[in-house]
């Protein structure tokens, strides 16, 4: 069985520079009108501004990592494992490269080994939690894991139509065996592999010829809208309900026992549907800064947890569930006793 692992500290970084979302939607030629379930994306997304930068994603990750290390009062020597859980393309393409080695170098974590979780969409946060908790609790020589993500979307690819608009940013957390703070009591993940290509980035490998124009567009996130509408839209909240029931059953808890649900900042319409479908009261679902920040991929899980703490909504002993959909093919959750 898994030994107790807690979150020793968490931090995030958002670049100062911001852009107005209505300008972004115009620039990216996002369609007008309704999509599935009579949703008007432009009207119902509920995001007004996003953070943007020209910096590479590894730099955003580094700033978040430096903040979390300072907050936890740690040096690189204290870290045994470094895991990159970024879910969108990084400085260089995976799985050949990840930012984990770069971060190890920058914080001088000379005892650590590095790797990257290469799956999950926004659920990569939970995939990383699951993997890291299993590893450090099963090996006596390992105590601390540093998990981080750095996300910068390419130019003209801020909008993940029909879901959300993305901010650039980074996040990091330290997991420690035997940590009494934010103890991760349960983690659950559902993977639906047949939806592996609802969201995808084609890459240079999918170019149609060496003379293809605008190769940069091949690094944009693509959505198979038909597959999305025919599958994800129809099953999303059924899957959330299944996931919530499953993890609560494992934990021996009920929906009412959870003090706060940390949910991703996808859109206003998504949140409304989530609350309606799950019966969880709106005030228990934390996405407070949706309008001013939008969605920061998998980092939403860390950012919203941290913000909820700072807002006084999570206090010692609070029972918190972090949960998300991951790129249409995964649904994941963790229960944390703060």
């Amino acid at each position: 069985m898994r030994e107790g692992v807690g979150i020793e500290a968490e931090a995030y970084f958002l670049p100062e520079s911001k852009r107005n979302v209505s300008e972004v939607l115009e620039e990216e030629d996002i369609p007008l009108g309704t999509l599935a379930k009579a949703i008007d994306f432009r009207q119902d997304v509920g995001i007004e501004e996003i953070h943007v930068t020209e910096e590479l994603s590894s730099q955003l990750a580094l700033r978040a990592v430096q903040k979390v290390m300072t907050k936890a009062g740690l040096t690189g020597n204290d870290i045994d494992v470094v895991i990159d859980f970024t879910s969108i393309p990084e400085d260089y393409i995976g799985p050949t490269w990840s930012a984990a080695g770069f971060i190890q170098r920058e914080i001088d974590a000379r005892n650590a080994f590095c790797t990257a979780i290469t799956v999950g969409g926004c659920s990569s946060y939970h995939f990383a939690l699951q993997s890291a908790c299993a590893l450090i609790s099963s090996e006596s020589g390992l105590k601390r894991a540093l998990l981080f993500a750095g996300d910068r979307t390419p130019k003209y690819n801020k909008t993940y139509y029909p879901i959300t608009v993305s901010s650039d940013g980074g996040s990091a957390l330290i997991l420690r065996k035997g940590c009494g703070r934010a103890i991760i009591t349960d983690i659950d993940i559902i993977s639906v592999g047949r939806l592996h290509d609802v969201w995808y980035v084609p890459g240079l490998g999918q170019r149609t010829g060496d003379r293809e124009d605008n190769l940069e567009r091949l690094l944009h996130m693509h959505c198979n809208v038909k597959k999305f509408n025919d599958n994800v839209i129809l099953m999303n909240f059924t899957m959330f309900n299944r996931l919530i029931d499953r993890i609560l059953r494992k934990a021996g808890k009920s929906r009412e026992d959870i003090d706060l649900y940390i949910y991703p900042n996808f859109s206003t319409w998504d949140q409304d549907y989530f609350c309606r479908a799950t019966g969880i009261p709106r005030e228990k679902v934390y996405t407070r800064r949706l309008a001013e920040r939008g969605h920061v991929q998998e980092s939403d899980m860390v950012i919203n947890y941290r913000d909820a703490l700072d807002d006084g909504l999570i206090t010692k002993g609070s029972l918190v569930m972090t949960l998300t959909n991951g790129a249409g093919f995964a649904w994941s959750a963790a229960i944390v006793r703060h």
């Binding site: 393309p89 260089y92 799985p95 999950g120 993997s131 099963s138």
Partner: protein
């Protein structure tokens, strides 16, 4: 003797590789990639031919290997609870936004599984995948894990590097099933260590955020100025010693050392630094398949399993230097 698994034994239940049928000679690829191959360099490579994948989706290689692996283990897709991708080269779509393990889960009908992938460590991704999968098995979250890879060289990018050839890439897929409560070779320990200073010793410079439209940089390259063979092998020896200690096994009890099929020179240097007989036990695999990243370990491990001798020690080390960045060593009891 002890095991990191405590009371839970994690075993390699079955292994399989899928090698595409088409063969190509190294001398021909050198011509097409305009590589001048001196005879001394050719001897140092020790690779004669390799396999070439001609389909559109490289994941087909992993799928075929996975199906064979399940068959060998007498398992159904529905009995797999974890699928882990340990590929090293660019995939069907850009990673980490896309991961092959999801596609394989769907194709195998592994409805109960959740899917993982590990990247950034080159060939050592294989040992990383084993370590994490074993942890999930030990903590009782998973009983049967399927590990998969599919590595296909980028077009015109088989000789790494063209100016100073270190290896020649062959195409191949592989699969391994790890389980508890079933018979097979026991994973005694896996030790990993990284040197972040060399994080960019081997990578594809084009196609990511830094150089999104640089087709000329869309190729794997190893930085030979950064990579020091001798110091890397010394470090690998230390990592292997730690893995052996964790398994409660002496270095002198290890009968076979499995390494990736990078080159004859790489293997010879490994044998020299580790104080082994210069017998190049996996030379035949290297000569006919080239370097297939994680699949090399599976090909070589299968060979050891098929010819194990009653007279020899049953402990085997699986070692990877990851070009000086990502080191790994696993001790297996055959």
């Amino acid at each position: 003797m002890k095991t990191e698994t405590g009371s839970v034994a994690v075993r390699i239940v079955s292994t399989s590789c899928c090698l595409p049928p088409r063969e190509m000679l190294v001398e021909d690829v050198c011509k097409s990639e305009q590589v001048k191959l001196e005879s001394a360099t050719a001897d140092g490579l020790g690779i004669t031919r390799f396999r070439v994948f001609e389909g559109k989706w490289r994941s087909q290689l992993a799928l075929a290997a996975a199906k064979e692996c399940l068959k060998k283990a007498s398992l159904k897709g529905s009995e797999i609870e974890l699928v882990v991708d340990y590929s090293a080269l660019p995939q069907d779509y850009v990673v980490p936004s896309w991961c092959m393990s999801n596609k394989i889960q769907a194709e195998l009908g592994a409805a109960k599984a959740f899917n993982l992938g590990f990247g950034g460590g080159g060939t050592t991704n294989f040992l990383t995948a084993v370590k994490f999968a074993a942890s999930l098995i030990k903590t009782a979250e998973v009983k049967n894990a399927l590990l998969i890879s599919a590595d296909v060289a980028l077009p015109g990018n088989r000789v790494i590097n063209p100016d100073t050839p270190l290896t020649v890439l062959g195409d191949g897929g592989s699969a391994v099933i790890l389980s508890r409560g079933r018979s097979g070779c026991e994973v005694m320990s896996v030790e990993l260590w990284s040197d972040g200073r060399l994080n960019d010793v081997s990578f594809v410079e084009g196609g990511g955020l830094a150089n999104p439209d640089r087709l000329d940089l869309y190729r794997l390259r190893v930085d030979t100025a950064m990579y020091s063979q001798d110091s890397s092998l010394d470090t690998l020896k230390a990592v292997t010693r730690r893995a052996a200690e964790n398994a409660g096994v002496g270095m002198d009890e290890l009968s076979t050392f499995i390494t990736p099929n990078i080159s004859a020179n790489d293997r010879e240097s490994f044998e020299r630094v580790f104080g082994l007989t210069l017998d190049d036990p996996f030379g035949a695999n290297r000569r006919q398949y080239g370097h297939m990243h994680g699949a090399d370990f599976v090909v070589n491990l299968s060979q050891v399993a098929s010819i194990r001798s009653e007279k020899r020690s049953r402990f085997v080390a699986v070692c990877s230097h990851g070009w000086g960045f990502s080191y790994g060593a696993m001790i297996v009891s055959m």
